[in-house]
């Protein structure tokens, strides 16, 4: 088989599997499901992915992944989104924890944590941002104090998705009051189910709650759950965040925005005078997908790959906002509820995973080599 045939047969297999595996209730009545039902379906979806052989496509087989390439990962996510598959509740573990452990973890940590993430039995969350450490993430104040056999962590984290369902968190905390900035942080794997941790959900402008605040009061982390060395936290976190802003995320968002833009094109914008504007949005959206595909040819070369993927997050997030801004202005009664909600929800996309302003700094510094 040629590489193209191989890819084609992978994709056909994936589409066939998706057509029989996506739960009908999710496909047809998602809007009517309760929060508990949604969580249960998303949990179940992770287990089905694993049983079907579609969990961790680009993760090496020794860690319980499928050992395929990023191309297959991207193709699968695109097909899954097109099939209206749920998003697994284990996504933080898969897209953040696993790549971080593959790059920086010990063999013991990989063996202990990756199988549970792959199988969909352990949910992870991300405890990075703090009230005083948003765009300036290095300003983390949560402190991990050395104690017998580990650390006691005290502080406050914010904007944590899935916190109430998570068994574990990847945690960025300060381990030194004297070492210089960027060398005073450490990266931990935190057990979320312990007495020193309390949660409070955040009510968003859309009147939904996807995020929590996490309060840590002498929560314990064992020495064996420190990733890398003390003081390596900043560099390790940068690996994590690069994964988050990459191509897999972009292709998933592409399909979501595609759904919204199709609604706009086939219903809400018909008969209005915004035709040129809508066509332009359509061209730009298709370019998100082509940009991801173009980047995949450079996946072996980190810098060249990053040159082509560094703008993806800015690209899809600002485009999505423009789609909802236009849509909410058109007064389509059939979709009023949808657009009001999407319009408010998408205010967040240019802020989360690192604000677009910070991403522009990163492009300027790391891709273009501009002076700081």
């Amino acid at each position: 088989m040629t590489p193209l045939d191989h890819q084609q047969s992978f994709l056909e297999g994936a589409r066939a599997w998706l057509s029989t595996s996506v739960p009908d209730r999710w496909r047809q009545e998602r809007g009517a499901l309760s929060e508990d039902e949604i969580v249960e379906i998303r949990h179940e979806w992770d287990r089905r992915l694993f049983a079907g052989g579609y969990s961790g496509l680009s993760i090496p087989t020794v860690y319980g992944g499928q050992g395929l390439g990023l191309r297959q990962e991207v193709l699968f996510h695109e097909a899954a989104a097109q099939a209206h598959a749920p998003e697994g509740i284990g996504r933080i573990g898969k897209i953040l924890t696993v790549p971080t452990l593959v790059a920086h973890g010990s063999e013991e940590q990989r063996a202990k944590y990756i199988p549970g993430i792959m199988a969909g039995t352990e949910v992870w969350c991300q405890a990075f941002s703090e009230p005083g450490a948003g765009s300036d993430l290095a300003n983390v104040a949560t402190f991990a104090r050395k104690t017998e056999g580990g650390y006691l962590v005290t502080g406050q984290k914010i904007w944590t998705s899935f916190a109430q369902y998570a068994e574990r968190a990847i945690l960025l905390a300060k381990t030194s009051q004297t070492d210089p900035r960027y060398r005073n942080l450490s990266f931990f794997l935190l057990d979320m189910k312990q007495p020193g941790i309390a949660l409070r959900t955040i009510r968003q402008i859309s009147d939904t709650s996807h995020f929590s605040e996490v309060f840590l009061d002498s929560a314990f982390v064992a020495d064996s759950d420190l990733v890398g060395e003390e003081g390596d936290g900043w560099n390790i976190a940068m690996t994590t965040l690069t994964s988050e802003r990459g191509g897999v995320e972009a292709i998933t968002r592409y399909v979501e925005v595609r759904g919204d833009l199709d609604t706009l094109m086939h219903c809400c914008a018909t008969g209005s005078d915004v035709d040129t504007q809508v066509k332009q949005l359509d061209t730009r959206l298709e370019l998100v997908r082509w940009q991801v595909m173009k980047a995949l040819d450079y996946v072996e070369d980190d810098l060249e790959f990053f040159r082509r993927t560094c703008m993806l997050k800015i690209m899809w997030s600002e485009l999505w906002q423009e789609v909802t801004q236009l849509a909410v202005s058109l007064n389509c009664r059939a979709h009023q509820e949808h657009w009001r909600n999407q319009y408010l929800e998408t205010r967040a996309v240019s802020i989360y995973s690192g604000s677009n302003e910070i991403q522009r700094n990163i492009i300027g510094d790391r891709v273009l080599g501009l002076p700081r």
Binding site: T283, W290, M315, Q359, N361, P371
Partner: protein
């Protein structure tokens, strides 16, 4: 689903080799130095077989694909050299009569906004350029146009108005549109590179201006936009049904990049000698020509 969006080996090697030839002939000189004179002799192009790279292999050509030509056209666009290399490559790809001729060739393209049947012909004011009466017909003929008066607005393209237009077969016209758009994208990427380099060395307030977020964010966006423009012309070369919109989008962004590049260069960007305007002028005229190709 495309397995890869990369050009073939022919495209990759041609692009690298062409870049080297250009580098040797312009010898580190700025664009203002060479955009108005014969900086790369046609004999160098012809002796190297550059005009035949996209002729099918069955006719002893290089067999480059349209995707390959997108790669070559970007390299060519980055230099802005006043020779009809791209037009000649394209003509020889599409016309048996063109393959039998030697020397540079070009076409005359419908002008928007006039109804007298006249066309705009890049390089028609350049000595010995054969202007095709038709491309893609059974018997294509070429006129060696009377030198005519070049429109001075675009020194690197030497375009003249001719009283007739070239009859171009639809698929050939689509390919020419993609090639010209790729040339424009190559020029835009060059201007982004020049802007980044300028921002690293030009100092104000005792610091390189590239360290200020007002400049840095603009350059980050320019990098992103240059990437989209490039992706758009690659897309245009791979999906015929989307060629037109992808090319228009790529050219639109590229022109905006040229405008932003002038802003980054400050007062210097507004001078004739800095030469950014040569690229911008080429881009504006290419936009006009591309619009004339598509109904």
């Amino acid at each position: 689903m495309t397995a890869t969006m990369l050009p073939t080996e022919v495209g990759q090697m041609s692009a690298v080799a062409l870049a080297e030839i250009i580098e040797r002939s312009i010898d580190g000189n700025p664009v203002a130095d060479y955009a108005e004179r014969e900086s790369l002799a046609w004999s160098v192009i012809e002796d190297g077989g550059w005009d035949c790279i996209a002729v099918a292999e069955e006719f002893d050509g290089g067999g480059a694909s349209l995707r390959d030509l997108v790669e070559v056209a970007q390299v060519w666009g980055a230099a802005n050299i006043p020779q009809p290399l791209l037009e000649t490559i394209w003509a020889k790809r599409w016309s048996a009569q063109a393959r039998e001729r030697s020397g540079p060739m070009s076409v005359s393209v419908r002008r928007l906004g006039v109804s007298d049947g006249s066309g705009l012909a890049p390089f028609a004011a350049l000595a010995a350029t054969g202007i095709a009466r038709s491309i893609g017909a059974a018997t294509d003929e070429f006129d060696v146009a009377p030198l005519g008066e070049a429109d001075a607005f675009t020194p690197a393209l030497r375009p003249s108005v001719l009283p007739w237009t070239t009859k171009i077969e639809a698929e050939a016209a689509r390919e020419l549109g993609v090639i010209w758009a790729a040339e424009v994208v190559g020029a835009a990427q060059k201007l982004v590179d020049l802007s980044v380099a300028y921002a690293k060395t030009r100092e104000q307030f005792g610091k390189p201006i590239g360290s200020f977020q007002a400049i840095k964010h603009r350059l980050a966006d320019m990098h992103s936009q240059a990437q989209y423009a490039q992706t758009a012309v690659i897309w245009a070369s791979l999906e015929p049904t989307n060629s037109q919109r992808a090319c228009h989008y790529a050219v639109g962004i590229s022109i905006s990049l040229a405008e932003q590049s002038i802003q980054i260069h400050g007062g210097m960007g507004f001078t004739w000698e800095m030469g950014l305007h040569y690229y911008l002028r080429t881009m504006l005229t290419r936009r006009e020509l591309i619009a004339g190709l598509w109904p």
